[in-house]
């Protein structure tokens, strides 16, 4: 049903899911996130876990709590997440790519050609 992985605690996975959904535009800035009660009932998890995930997002200044109304995506959240993901790409994903190129003996220009080709196809 709910496909949790065993790499991280669930509240962390919920936080990452919401971040991804903000990046995808599912939750636009200014929009309300579903209530803790709804998320807990939908995912069949404890409401404290949902609250913990929301609190992490509040701490990261991505969402805010409006008294009596629930959680809302802050304006600027999208830019902030993009910057974060970019940083993550530079510091985590690119080193992985470097390792992969080494492992499969792929010259850099082959990789760049392939990258350009796929970017072109994606347009």
């Amino acid at each position: 049903m709910s496909d949790w992985n065993d790499k991280q605690p669930i509240f962390h996975q919920i936080k990452e899911r919401i971040e991804k959904q903000i990046l995808l535009g599912i939750w636009a800035e200014g929009m309300a996130l579903p209530s803790v009660r709804t998320v807990a009932a939908d995912l069949k998890i404890n409401h404290l876990t949902v609250m913990k995930a929301y609190q992490l997002l509040v701490d990261d200044n991505l969402i805010e709590k409006k008294r009596g109304q629930g959680m809302f995506v802050l304006s600027g959240a999208l830019e902030k997440l993009k910057a974060e993901k970019k940083q993550q790409f530079l510091t985590q994903d690119i080193p992985n790519i470097v390792q992969m190129l080494k492992r499969i003996d792929m010259p850099l220009h082959d990789f760049i050609n392939e990258l350009e080709k796929q970017i072109e196809e994606d347009k």
Partner: protein
């Protein structure tokens, strides 16, 4: 949050055997306690003691009341659902609701009707004609229409199909979230209830083998998914369990070995099921 359940050194001694040995715990509003253990570990005896249907040594207080001596008052706030149907089979749904409003001081019949209107259960149906999933759903709806503060569930979804399980837990979570209540769930389906729990109490041969908040329990263990070549190093860390996979083995270890195990493989989060099974196997 007020303490709703307090158990201090609860012991049940039969003539020849001990069913429950010195169990203590406290539950406040908002807490969900998972009561785990194999058959015969003492879960049922502990539940019977909490319900006041079994004499015991030690102390139990639920909503400040003694389950044996103040049973009548307590039943206003304490409810129990097991895998066995207790609703009278010869009544129809409307009659059960009228009966409940007659015997239960806080039962709100309109609320019960409203809860049932979101289910497939018609008021005219005879209890005997309902499926086991519907019976459990009806029972839960009746409880949700009372002023229940402490709900004890004993294998509540045994024999229910997946759709009923889903609806059951959805209603349960929504109801639980709307008030200051405590839940105790005894179940063999560890993975089904794991993420609902705030606390867990694992019994083995009448005694507690693990007890605490879920977060602290997870923090006591970790899994390392390591290549076979590291086997002898990891075996020195007294692993609680291991599972051989393709090219690697997953080892369940105590947290004190985390620094040593890092670098030997991927570090993973254990599930409650992993911990539960390991503790049942471990020779204590």
């Amino acid at each position: 949050m007020t303490v709703l359940v307090r158990a201090v050194k609860v012991t049940k001694q039969y003539q020849r055997a001990v069913a429950v040995k010195e169990i203590s715990f406290e539950l406040r509003g908002g807490q969900v306690l998972g009561l785990l253990g194999h058959n015969g570990a003492g879960k049922s005896s502990l539940i019977s003691a909490l319900l006041g249907s079994l004499s015991y040594q030690g102390e139990i207080e639920i909503c400040g009341l003694n389950p044996v001596k103040q049973r009548v008052q307590l039943m206003r706030y304490l409810a129990y659902i097991s895998d066995r149907n207790v609703l009278p089979l010869w009544m129809n749904v409307a009659q059960v609701l009228r009966y409940s409003s007659g015997v239960h001081p806080s039962f709100d019949i309109n609320k019960a009707r409203q809860l049932l209107s979101s289910t497939q259960i018609p008021l005219t149906a005879k209890i005997s004609s309902l499926s086991s999933g519907m019976k459990v759903q009806l029972h839960l709806s009746i409880i949700m229409a009372t002023d229940t503060k402490v709900l004890i569930l004993d294998e509540p979804t045994l024999g229910l199909d997946l759709i009923y399980r889903d609806t059951f837990y959805r209603h349960l979570i929504e109801w639980f979230h709307d008030g200051e209540r405590a839940l105790i769930i005894a179940s063999h389906e560890v993975s089904e209830i794991e993420h609902l729990l705030t606390d867990v109490l694992i019994l083995k041969q009448s005694e507690v083998v693990l007890q605490g908040e879920m977060a602290s329990i997870y923090a006591r263990y970790f899994i390392v998914d390591a290549q076979h070549q590291h086997q002898s190093i990891i075996e020195q860390m007294s692993p609680l369990a291991s599972q051989v996979g393709l090219g690697t083995t997953k080892w369940l270890l105590k947290n004190e070995y985390r620094a040593q195990a890092e670098g030997l493989g991927d570090i993973l989060e254990p599930s409650l099921q992993d911990i539960f099974l390991a503790l049942q196997k471990e020779d204590a």
